[in-house]
């Protein structure tokens, strides 16, 4: 501890705050290019159907229509929307998705698209496209999809199996471990899909110029990877594809992949004009990826004193209709669940299954909140059976420094113990837990722990690059690619750069979101940006600072080793009155030194060697109405170890936002399709209930700032951690209130009432 910071740790405002507060920040739908056409997509009304015949002639004749395209008019190649590569080169994954399809695999699958002078005309033209479908039997449930004779959905899998996996870090002898256990708990859990509910409906713009350059304004989180996807799909040289991130109205993992971009590009190539494609919110709900649904069995064995000695996890994920990051979440579930606590004997397996439903991808936490919902309930069940307090059983089993993280790298720092103890004290655990259960409305308190990651190394490739160039006035441009996920990362990276360079955060000007300008970067996902991109920024800043000080040393006639830079001033450590401003050095370097001119510019690539897990403890207080089944979360407390906090406002905001997302995930957000047709029934904010102002609990966020040795100024990831233990803590609190275990998400009033009835009959 004890390091003095000038910029890091300060509650600074975001660089894009004024643009957003004044309505001048441009999102994709705000951009209007000369001659721009508007596109609409014709989607399958059936969950599984062959396109027998398609006639676009009437639509083409409609005045104002410039192009109508179908599967015939686009590359016959396929792609995976949200592929993220591993660190070591492997064989490319099977691809299965075309720009359009002639076999619809879910309700909403893209069949054709129109570009017209305005969106009304485009929409009208959709109605003039004649399609004859041959309906096929469809399957929505994972168990049904695995049965012999089930409809085959993908051309890449005869048995609807996307993939099977086993836990790569299995240890010990699981059977022996269970044989030695004094207490074994085995439970089956299910979690529902979750819509990301990005407030900005998906939108993108594409242009195609006479030289064959494609430019696409896309809100995607992983632009450099998606540029590759687009170049390969359309067979265009990589250098001719440019992705630009406008401001993005939320991400949360929904935008790891591309969705409308290939359609907009195909229309731009066909017409030679800019094409804008904006989804409606209903379309967004029904077509964009969701968090996958999981069913899993969690079995854990403990010694009498509560020591976890054996664990087995078996996870099945509903992948939806096409391959993507959703399937990968099954592997992640195993890593998170089996890696949450120290356990000498552990194993797990999983699979992802194709169904005739919309596609899935990672959503904030990527399997961690899903699987911890079960793991943490099993921990509580074991504690109860063994007569140990839930806090104590966790303190006994949490991992310490030097043990392997959930991702399999040695833990460098953890304050999980402090988080649990501090949270328990703050919320009044001892006084409130296990209160007498009486009356109609019953109070309960519950908790859960969480361990996440700061980037998915070593599972995925996670390097970042940054470039910092000084301007003549002593400010600096930071060229870096977190994109614009809206997380506050711009401010965080500015603070890291400014701290190292000895200038103010406002002196840092971010250049981002343009693959033509930024160096290759994985982008923003897996809570990696502060840690991975932040480390690249720090490394580039050190490089730039070295050049700056060399130059200043010559000007001052001293050695650069004797210099410090702070508050925009470079001074001799031993005699601080001997000084020169950063601006003077930069001006001299760029303009006033004849043949000695140089550009002061640092460039760095940084690759992680650790997953740097952030840790947390989550506490919920609830009131359960035993007559109506209504659950009110009255208080939620998150205690987080994200290492040194670069900007407390931003990280508090991440934790508070996670409370909204995951309290909704736990209780109200109930993705539903029609069981016969597969049509999404919850395709609006009216039917898909996310939490409003009045639904929010009282919230509190506490940081335990234990610096992470490999983090930039000690920082680790934060955003996804905030959601890891929310649903689990709420479920445990509900049990404390009504003594009923809720094993299926969301925990709706109907489910509570039903469970209470079953309980009273038993």
């Amino acid at each position: 501890m004890g390091q003095e910071f000038s910029v890091v740790g300060k509650r600074l405002t975001q660089p894009d705050g004024v643009a957003k507060a004044t309505g001048t920040a441009q999102y994709a739908a705000d951009i209007k290019l000369p001659g721009m056409l508007r596109a609409k997509v014709l989607r399958s009304p059936f969950s599984h159907a062959k396109v027998k015949r398609i006639d676009t002639s009437k639509a083409e004749k409609l005045s104002g229509v410039e192009a109508v395209i179908t599967a015939r008019d686009v590359p016959q190649k396929t792609y995976v929307s949200s592929y993220t590569p591993p660190p070591k080169p492997t064989t490319p994954p099977a691809t299965d998705r075309g720009v359009f399809t002639d076999k619809a695999r879910y309700v909403g699958d893209a069949i054709a698209a129109v570009a017209a002078v305005d969106s009304r005309t485009a929409k009208q033209a959709l109605g003039l496209i004649e399609v004859e479908y041959e309906q096929l039997p469809a399957v929505f449930d994972v168990e049904e999809a695995l049965k012999p004779g089930a409809p085959v959905i993908s051309d890449t899998a005869e048995n609807n199996l996307v993939y099977e996996t086993v836990y790569p870090m299995a240890e010990g002898d699981v059977e022996k471990g269970f044989a030695e256990a004094a207490c074994i708990i085995e439970e089956r859990f299910s979690t529902n899909r979750q819509e990301h509910c990005v407030m900005e409906p998906h939108a993108c713009i594409a242009t195609y110029d006479a030289n064959g350059n494609v430019t696409c304004w896309s809100p995607c989180q992983l632009s450099h990877l998606r540029r590759r996807t687009i170049a390969e799909l359309f067979d265009i040289p990589l250098g001719k594809v440019r992705l630009i991130n406008p401001f993005s109205g939320g991400s949360f993992g929904q935008r790891l992949g591309i969705e409308g971009e290939p359609i907009a590009i195909a229309l731009a190539m066909k017409t030679g004009k800019p094409v804008s494609l904006e989804y409606t919110m209903e379309e967004d709900f029904a077509v964009m990826v969701t968090r996958p649904a999981f069913k899993y069995t969690c079995k854990m064995g403990f010694k009498k004193d509560g020591t976890l000695i054996a664990m087995d996890l078996d996870v099945t994920g509903n992948n939806g209709a096409y391959r993507g990051a959703g399937a990968l979440n099954v592997s992640l579930c195993l890593l998170w669940g089996l890696g949450a606590y120290r356990c000498p004997n552990k194993a797990g397996s999983g699979c992802a299954i194709f169904t005739n439903t919309q596609c899935t991808a990672a959503a904030r936490g990527a399997g961690n909140p899903e699987v911890m919902f079960g793991v943490e309930q099993v921990m509580d069940l074991a504690a109860e059976k063994l007569g140990i307090d839930p806090i104590e059983i966790r303190l006994k089993n949490i991992k310490k420094v030097g043990e392997l993280s959930n991702m399999g790298t040695p833990i460098e720092s953890t304050a999980q113990e402090e988080c649990i103890k501090l949270g328990a004290e703050r919320i009044g655990w001892k006084e409130k837990r296990g209160r007498k259960r009486e009356g109609v409305v019953r109070k309960g308190i519950g908790m859960a722990t969480g361990q996440h990651c700061s980037g998915a190394y070593p599972m995925l490739l996670e390097h970042s690059s940054a470039l910092i160039k000084f301007n003549e006035d002593g400010s600096a441009n930071l060229v870096v690619h977190p994109g614009s996920p809206g997380t506050g990362i711009w401010g965080t990276l500015s603070q890291i750069a400014a701290e190292e360079l000895g200038i103010d955060a406002e002196d840092i000007h971010i250049v981002t979101g343009d693959t033509n300008a930024t160096l290759f970067d994985i982008g923003s996902h897996a809570s990696r940006s502060t840690y991975c991109i932040g480390n690249a920024v720090l490394k580039a800043a050190r490089e730039a600072k070295g050049q700056l000080l060399e130059r200043a040393a010559k000007m001052l006639g001293v050695s650069s080793n004797d210099l410090e830079v702070k508050d925009r001033q470079i001074y001799v450590r031993a005699s601080p009155e001997k000084r020169i401003s950063v601006a003077e050095v930069c001006e001299q370097a760029a303009i006033r030194s004849g043949i000695e001119v140089e550009d002061i510019c640092g460039k760095a690539t940084w690759h992680p060697t650790n997953s740097a897990p952030p840790f947390g403890a989550f506490f919920a207080e609830v009131e359960v109405d035993t007559q109506t089944g209504a659950v009110k979360v009255t208080k939620f407390l998150t205690v987080a170890d994200s290492g040194k906090i670069i900007n407390p406002i931003a990280v508090e905001g991440q934790m508070e936002g996670a409370m909204q997302q995951f309290t909704g995930y736990a209780l109200t957000e109930n993705w539903q399709i029609n069981e016969d047709t597969g049509v999404l029934e919850t395709d609006s904010f009216a039917t898909y209930e996310m939490l409003s102002q009045l639904d929010m609990p009282e919230t509190e966020v506490i940081f335990v700032e234990k610096p992470c040795p490999s983090g930039p100024f000690g920082a680790k990831g934060a955003g996804e951690l905030g959601g890891v233990g929310v649903a689990a803590a709420i479920a445990n609190a509900i049990y404390d209130a009504i003594e009923v275990r809720m094993k299926d998400l969301p925990i709706t009033p109907e489910r509570i009432v039903r469970a209470l009835k079953v309980e009273s009959c038993a």
Binding site: T22, G249, I649, M690, Q693
Partner: protein, 160 residues
């Protein structure tokens, strides 16, 4: 039906706009006047992202036909700051971290403006009730409430 030339007063400035009868206030602001600070999210009146003030009252501009706003005063997010001087609500949103992705921000700020114009000294509960129709997926609303309360104090102390 054909286009009708209609007078709209937006942020104090009078516009004669040829509008189709089906066009909403949001359509006209965004497509005809280039005022894209007003965002369309759900397009169904469920989320509040498109909130503007018409004669001082907060409305869902995505559901309000432009024709019904004839000769009325429309205030949008672009009309709040005076030159480069931000409105206290805008400053408070920035300073308190009430903005993350920013897509719901215009609507939140306009709903807050309507509240504070009518009730300059709201309680925390009153803020929550006034903004209940404005959904946000990033912030958990916590810092939005803090910002509105801070803005109300600033306005009472003489800021505008």
């Amino acid at each position: 039906m054909s286009k009708q030339v209609t007078r709209l007063i937006v942020n104090g400035r009078s516009y004669e706009v040829a509008i189709e009868p089906w066009m909403t206030v949001a359509d006209v602001l965004r497509d005809e006047l280039g005022l894209t600070g007003t965002k369309i999210s759900c397009g169904a009146g469920d989320c509040g992202a498109c909130t503007v003030l018409i004669d001082g009252r907060p409305v869902r501009s995505c559901l309000t036909l432009a024709i019904t706003a004839r000769d009325k005063n429309i205030l949008t997010i672009e009309g709040l700051a005076e030159g480069t001087t931000l409105h206290p609500i805008q400053s408070a949103f920035i300073e308190h971290g009430a903005i993350q992705c920013g897509f719901c921000t215009s609507g939140q700020i306009m709903a807050a403006k309507a509240l504070l114009d009518e009730n300059p000294n709201p309680t925390r509960e009153e803020v929550k009730e006034a903004l209940v129709g404005n959904l946000c997926r990033c912030t958990g609303y916590v810092k939005i409430v803090e910002a509105v309360l801070a803005a109300s104090e600033r306005i009472r102390k003489g800021g505008k």
